[in-house]
Symmetry: C2
Subunit: 406 residues, 2 copies
């Protein structure tokens, strides 16, 4: 008998028929002898509607009250799922964040779980009751509702799995698992059987948006074995596990990409200490995330060029901030380009293999794709290219690294 935390996302709970199908799937797990805790998102579309309403009143949509509004979606599905399980003859009850409680910090709209008291649900599970936990929500120290940010139910599920010492956390979604690349662009993409937390983190934050990044961090921290699988069929999915659990490590396990990129180049800034701080400080203050950063070595020992990327949606705001800080930075000119995309090659195996980056560069060169910025970490190589080349780059790299399906 295994204890499993199973999470269902919005597309798996889109209407009462979908909810009934999920309840039957849970029943099959229970009939097979597993002890199951169910974690639910809101119905597909619900959170968007609630967020839209909030935006009608509040330009900065993340607040105490916004969390009161948007957390209602998970409350509805938690109650409905408990009813659906009862209709299948199972004992079930819903749990809202405040009822356990799921204690979080007070950062509304992007709260972090600090503590979950699992005692009551563990006891009820031992007696055969299935807990249905409303994901995405918690309460802060003042007993106000909080939410964990978009995709937060993934993180709720992993945190519940950790608190319940579950053997596994299954994330049911509308795809069959994690793929070697985006199957809509790369028809020969294959489902990955096993991937490490580290690779998954790179994949998720680079645009393979299957799991909330934070959920993978929590899983890694607590050693929760994750499985990403489809709620629409019975195929096994992708396991996200510790590196030690993978015997045959792939040199490259996937090719990820992100179109949500914009490039900013500051020309002829002074090449002296403190300039980078004067530049990135104001951006950080404005909550603008800077991703890739490249500084050319100074040609004349006096001025240098600096290029970095931000999310495309934050480009206009970033330019305004830089304009305001011009005196401190002292750049001559600013260029920006939002017609760019990032492509990344990811794999834990590259730590012990040379030539991975070189193959990427030569493959892109063969196709005539110009590399604008390069950034590397231990397990990934990312390049910024013109957006129009994304599809070609993904397919070429997928073939070059031997990832194509037969």
């Amino acid at each position: 008998m295994a204890r499993i935390a199973v999470k269902f996302g919005g597309t798996s709970l889109a209407d009462v028929d979908h909810i009934r199908a999920v309840a039957r799937r849970v029943k099959r797990l229970v009939d097979a002898g597993d002890q199951v805790a169910v974690i639910v998102s809101a119905m597909a579309g619900t959170t968007d509607q609630l967020v839209d309403w909030v935006k009608d009143f509040s330009p900065s949509p993340e607040s105490c009250e916004s969390d009161v509004v948007v957390s209602a979606g998970e409350q509805v599905t938690a109650g409905l799922m408990a009813l659906a399980l009862q209709a299948e003859g199972l004992r079930a009850r819903s749990w809202l964040g405040w009822q356990l409680p799921v204690r979080t910090d007070g950062v509304h709209g992007a709260a972090r779980i600090e503590d979950i008291d699992p005692q009551q649900i563990a006891k009820n599970m031992a007696s055969g009751e299935i807990p249905v936990l409303a994901g995405f929500q918690g309460t802060d120290a003042n007993n106000r509702l909080t939410t964990l940010g978009r995709g937060g139910t993934d993180t709720s599920a992993v945190a519940f799995a950790a608190a319940l010492k579950a053997d596994r956390c299954d994330i049911y979604t509308d795809v069959d698992g994690i793929f070697t690349s985006d199957p809509r662009i790369v028809p020969k993409a294959r489902k990955i059987d096993k991937i490490t937390y580290e690779e998954m983190l790179e994949m998720a934050s680079l645009g393979a948006k299957v799991l909330q990044t934070r959920s993978v961090e929590v899983a890694m921290k607590h050693g929760v074995r994750l499985q990403v699988l489809s709620s629409f069929n019975d195929s096994p999915g992708t396991f996200v596990v510790d590196e030690g659990d993978i015997v045959e490590k792939e040199i490259v396990s996937g090719i990820a990409y992100s179109r949500d990129e914009a490039k900013i180049t500051l020309q002829r800034i002074a090449d002296r200490p403190g300039v980078a701080a004067g530049l990135f400080g104001p951006l950080a203050d404005a909550n603008i995330n800077v991703d890739m950063i490249v500084q050319n070595s100074s040609r004349n020992g006096e001025t240098t060029d600096l290029t970095f990327t931000v999310a495309r949606s934050q480009l206009a705001q970033a330019l305004t901030v830089l304009e305001g800080a011009k005196a401190a930075i002292g750049h001559e000119q600013i260029f920006s380009d939002d017609n760019v995309a990032k492509v990344s090659v990811i794999g834990v195996g590259m730590r012990s293999h040379a030539g991975v980056a070189q193959r990427m560069f030569s493959t892109l060169a063969e196709k005539g794709i110009n590399i604008q910025v390069i950034s590397t970490s231990e397990i990934k190589v990312s390049v910024l290219i013109a957006e129009e080349y994304v599809e070609l780059a993904l397919r070429s790299l997928h073939t070059a690294y031997g990832l194509d399906a037969d």
Copy 2:
């Protein structure tokens, strides 16, 4: 400076524009120097949708989990209303039932408020913050969510008004107040300026569905001055107050009706002790409410006829129950008719005036309307008539009692 509890129903909160309009109305009250607590229903249609979903899983829709689902509607409007008030420059925060808490008994779907702890909101109101209270919801002793039944936000509002020792509880709705009769049927119906709790109770339970009956009971018990008024204009509404607050008591203050009626007649039941108990016991056990009851005096000293009314929706179930109890009741035949309606003349003044019932009977006789059942209380006379005569009866009685507008 008055302290006012203001309640807005679903049609007043139908969408973001309506919610914004309500926020502006609250701002006008605040600007005028009043201390205001806002109590909100769910958006129009939301509760129906949630109840429909619940019914897809559960034949008996009132349960712990059903309350989890349906109470989400008020959570959404409470958060949105707080945001809307903030957008008007006011300090506001939402309060959910469990946050105070609003403690109720454990009767899911029809809970009664046992206690409200007003300390926190009273303190915050004193500092200028506007509490926005989610109506309809509470928690029971096990910390499970409960709801107060259809229209329950009226009762929440009155209970909050009592707990906060408010000077007044304003119930904003989509009508201008309580009318002497249904204006859709009686064009000459007038808005009533003041009405007693007792009259309002008779009006509400007889089909003038503006206020939840229970809310009037709670108002009467705690001496909360109620005002029913429109959220779509600025006219004063109808005050529902203690009899002592009304100087000129009307003999008849209104003519109410209900079409949700069905009549059952049992012929030739034994005229001996215990028969009525044997009859109404099983109906009560099946949660069927019996309203009017008439037993003819026995003609031969052995058998008698008995007629009573039930809600039309419960007729089929009532007949099944009676069929099952036939041995105990010993009736010869059952007749039923769901083509009936109840018309009632209501007024506290009739306590001290003779001839009120007689005028009703003669007015109906003049129009050729046959009276099937009569039932009276201190402040009302009700008759059951064929449904097709409802409009004629209402208009004739409205004129006969001098209620017509000029």
